[in-house]
């Protein structure tokens, strides 16, 4: 009797505790997705890169996009950052179309003003860092908060230093990018994207351009940010271990389509499709 009571006492709070943002989408009361790709297609000339993709990302959710090169993973991320326009289909951010606006009841192609408003919810870290080489680390991170969020110089620098501390580079404020290692550059780039406080952040193969011994430090930083929870993350990656560790959901794409998706457990230990089985074999 006593033991039973004890048990129920133990399980009760545990089940409520489990409703974290990351697992909310699995519960019955689904929040609206922060990002929703709806029948997205993309062609570059004759090359049909994305052949119809539907994908929802929920607030705070970490999804990993894996798949062979050329499967359109990066293009999917770049579309969200408005660096690439879908050939057809709709992308919603917070239920609002990214690439279209309404004018007198008609849907028209979005203008720059609409795109700017929409993309303020999105951040991106690039494979090749794309730091501004003529600016110090501190300026790289603090310029956008000053110019876009209209913070004062002091506020912006304070925020920037806070983010740089998070990535372990607050000792390098006055250093220029050319004096940093690849891993350090990428961590600055992460701080630079974080300081804008996006709701969803695209990490586009952020370790692919790094020397193998520098990959760890960058993944460690991303893992820490992921553990903070609030921000949705789209991790385009070839690091399977990392995807398994960080992602709530793993999406496997090939030839411009989503072939299989599920929890890291499902995808890595119990892959269903032959495509995925063959793909994973190459990483084991």
């Amino acid at each position: 009797m006593n033991a039973q009571l004890d048990k129920s006492f133990m399980t009760e709070p545990e089940s409520t505790l489990h409703i974290e943002p990351s697992s909310l989408h699995a519960a019955s009361a689904k929040p609206n997705p922060i990002v929703s790709y709806q029948s997205i297609q993309k062609s570059f000339g004759d090359l049909h890169v994305i052949k119809g993709i539907d994908l929802d990302i929920y607030p705070g959710e970490k999804i990993a996009l894996i798949g062979p090169s050329g499967s359109g993973k990066t293009t999917l991320g770049r579309m969200l950052m408005t660096l690439e326009e879908p050939t057809s289909g709709t992308i919603l951010i917070d239920d609002e179309p990214l690439w279209q606006t309404e004018l007198k009841g008609k849907r028209i192609r979005a203008n720059e003003k609409h795109l700017r408003k929409m993309r303020s919810k999105v951040g991106m870290v690039f494979q090749h860092f794309n730091l501004f080489p003529h600016m110090s680390v501190l300026n790289n991170v603090s310029m956008a908060p000053r110019s876009v969020l209209k913070l004062t110089k002091e506020e912006a620098e304070e925020q920037a230093i806070m983010m740089l501390r998070k990535v372990g580079l607050d000792q390098k404020l006055q250093v220029y990018p050319s004096q940093l290692s690849g891993g350090q550059k990428q961590r600055v780039a992460i701080a630079r994207a974080l300081v804008m406080q996006p709701k969803v952040m695209v990490f586009d193969e952020v370790t692919s351009a790094l020397d193998p011994e520098l990959v760890g430090e960058v993944l460690f930083v991303i893992k820490e940010i992921a553990d903070e929870g609030q921000m949705a993350m789209m991790l385009i990656t070839h690091e399977m271990e990392f995807a398994r560790e960080v992602a709530d959901r793993v999406v496997f794409g090939a030839d411009g389509l989503i072939v299989e998706q599920g929890t890291p457990e499902d995808i890595f230990t119990n892959p269903q499709s032959e495509r995925l089985q063959a793909f994973l074999k190459r990483f084991l």
Binding site: V122, F129, N130, L131, F132, S147
Partner: protein
């Protein structure tokens, strides 16, 4: 044939004309940078009428001789608009416009050399168009083309005698006036040639020094793919 006494007599005369030549060259050069930037930016406008107009103007100016443009500005514009300018101002504007079209090509190459990743990073940080140009693109596009700009300063300097056609009293017109007064051709023209030679050489040494300094300062990496 060569009379040193006459040369000494000529020097103060040329000394008076020299600032006119130098001033026209420097102001024309400055204006060519302004026009060059305007043409380069307008040529990239997302709005096609601006893009096409800018390209048409550039093509038109480049396809007609500087001398014709100078005449047009000095003689025809006042007739068309009752708006007249001094020979000096006209000359500076003509040089600025003419070489601005060439300068725009220099800027275009500098802008094209900025890696695409820099534009993408600016987009990802939600920077405005203006901020992207002023803080990200131009600071990277301009330093590499400074030596080429310097060479255009030399070209413009050597092109200033064109302005004697609209009676600007620069070095060559001064020489010509002296010749017709003294009937001595040898000294005045030789001195003018020597002045151009010396100043051009000084300019090109300066440009080369600047080039060395910039290539030393250039820091590779950090900017993504080149």
């Amino acid at each position: 044939m060569w009379n040193w006494d006459y040369v000494i007599e000529l020097l103060p005369v040329f000394l008076k004309a020299f600032p006119v030549t130098l001033g026209a060259a420097f102001l024309g050069f400055t204006l060519s940078i302004v026009f060059g930037l305007l043409f380069a930016l307008a040529g990239r406008s997302a709005f096609w009428p601006i893009r096409w107009t800018s390209r048409a103007i550039v093509e038109f100016i480049r396809s007609t001789p500087l001398l014709v443009q100078v005449f047009f500005l000095y003689f025809s514009v006042p007739m068309l608009t009752s708006f007249a300018m001094s020979a000096f101002i006209t000359g500076v504007i003509a040089l600025g416009l003419h070489y601005g079209t060439y300068m725009s090509e220099v800027f275009r190459s500098g802008i094209d050399a900025v890696p695409r990743g820099q534009w993408e990073a600016a987009t990802a940080l939600h920077l405005s168009k203006r901020k992207t140009w002023l803080s990200v693109i131009l600071p990277q596009a301009l330093p590499p083309v400074v030596p080429v700009m310097g060479n255009y300063l030399i070209v413009i300097f050597k092109e200033t005698p064109t302005l004697m056609a609209i009676t600007l009293v620069e070095l060559l017109l001064t020489a010509k006036t002296e010749v017709s007064a003294s009937y001595r051709v040898f000294e005045p023209y030789t001195i003018v040639g020597l002045i151009f030679l010396v100043v051009s050489l000084i300019f090109s040494i300066g440009v080369r020094r600047l080039e060395n300094r910039l290539s030393q300062r250039e820091n590779p990496g950090g900017g993504g793919k080149r």
